[in-house]
Amino acid sequence: MKWRIADFIVIGVVFLSALLIWLYPALSETGATATITQDGVSQTVSLEKDLEIALENATVKIKDSRISITDARCPDLVCVKTGEISREGQSIVCVPNKIVITVGKSHEIDAISN
């Protein structure tokens, strides 16, 4: 039984598809909600509905299950430059305005007992 190039291609393809199937949920998973915190006060919003939220000195936009800060009054606009986020665990931070937006639940804990 001789190994031919075609065999290695088959093995390669199988391995690659296995890897893709394995990674797919992590790559494509979108959090259904985001938590927006400004100066310690937080609200949870659904990403399913398009929405614009006016915060103090900043505007948050939800469109097509993605959330972003579209406008902010701060010197460096790091938050605006972060762009849109949608995957669980991603976040946008605006330090001057004390804003943190996190998609999905915090990764430090698995659940909250309340």
């Binding site: 039984m1 190994w3 065999d7 088959v10 199988v14 391995f15 296995a18 199937i21 394995w22 949920p25 992590a26 259904a32 938590t35 006060v41 937080s42 609200q43 949870t44 639940k105 915090s106 430090e108 804990i109 698995d110 659940a111 909250i112 007992s113 309340n114």
Partner: protein, 302 residues
């Protein structure tokens, strides 16, 4: 084609991928969050819905409603839980009381009822099992998971946490303990648990305010009013979901002194007592970490 014998192996490897199934459902007037590894979620959701259909106080066709109309029940799930509720009512000296249905209905309106209405409702015996049914269904969920291939799941039944097994990496589940002063995402500390139920009760959950007074949803049968507890919240950690659910309510109603005494005389649960600015953690609470430094914390010993 013998050389492709490894293919099934790869398929098995794919099937072992560590991605959980997740689902959110609404039942019992609250949100249920399921994260389950290596087992189907739908039977779990169905189980919760089954209990909801039996024990719903608002559905006129529930077993509970039928029972409250004076009909005898032959539903085993119902009669079992009714029996357990009676057992716990005696055991907690009425701090947990499933016969406060009339009072609960009265306060549910969202206004302070008239005194004579409260007196009348106190005399009522309408059954409401809402303070025990999530515990009962969480035990049923674990029984189901024990028969499945899963060794890892975390489920939140409106904040009642079922930490089944451990995380897929073998580490304990990290469960946040609600900060009564923060929003519903805020936690003051965490515990690390495997195969435990973590259930909390507090004055922050369902309440209304009138003239600067907070009227929360945990009623004291002896006064007919929301329990005047010195505690803001109580968390119970135990191997039994029904017990955890009942005791979180009962110990809140008891207040700290009696609750601590109750814990000292028991050996089947641990507790976290949350005051306005302090947390008391019983000695057996697994891996407690205070994350909100506005609180001080101490350990209670038996």
């Amino acid at each position: 084609m013998k050389k492709y014998l490894f293919l099934p192996l790869l398929i098995i490897l794919c099937a072992c991928s560590p991605h959980p199934e997740k689902q959110t459902s609404f039942a019992m007037d609250t949100v249920m969050d399921f994260t389950v590894y290596n087992a189907e979620i739908s039977p779990l959701v169905e189980l919760v819905n089954e209990y909801d259909a039996i024990f719903s106080p608002t559905r006129s066709d529930s077993e509970l409603s039928t029972y409250n109309e004076g009909n005898f029940s032959q539903n085993e799930i119902f009669t079992d839980l009714l029996e357990k509720a009676e057992f716990y009512r005696k055991k907690t000296n009425g701090a947990f009381d499933h016969t406060l249905g009339d009072l609960i209905d009265l306060w549910n309106v969202g206004e302070v009822p008239a005194n004579d209405a409260i007196e009348t409702a106190k005399g009522g015996d309408k059954v409401n099992l809402s303070a025990i049914v999530k515990g009962a269904v969480s035990d049923a969920l674990v029984a189901h998971l024990n028969r499945s291939a899963s060794s890892s799941a975390i489920i939140s039944l409106g904040g009642n946490i079922v930490a089944f097994g451990s995380k897929p990496d073998g580490k304990p589940w990290i469960v946040g303990i609600r900060d009564p002063k923060g929003d519903s995402n805020a936690y003051l500390g965490t515990v690390g648990v495997s195969d435990k139920f973590v259930v909390s009760s507090g004055d922050y959950e369902r309440f209304f305010e009138k003239d600067g007074v907070r009227y929360h949803h945990i009623l004291d049968g002896s006064t007919g009013f929301p329990a005047k507890s010195d505690l803001r919240g109580v968390t119970i950690i135990a191997d039994n979901g029904t017990l955890s659910d009942v005791y979180s309510t009962a110990l809140f109603v008891m207040g700290y002194e009696k609750a601590l005494e109750f814990w000292k005389n028991s050996n089947d649960f641990e507790a976290i007592f949350v005051f306005d600015d302090k947390v008391v953690v019983t000695e057996g609470v697994p891996d407690f970490k205070l994350t909100n430094k506005e609180y001080s914390y101490e350990v209670a010993y038996r």
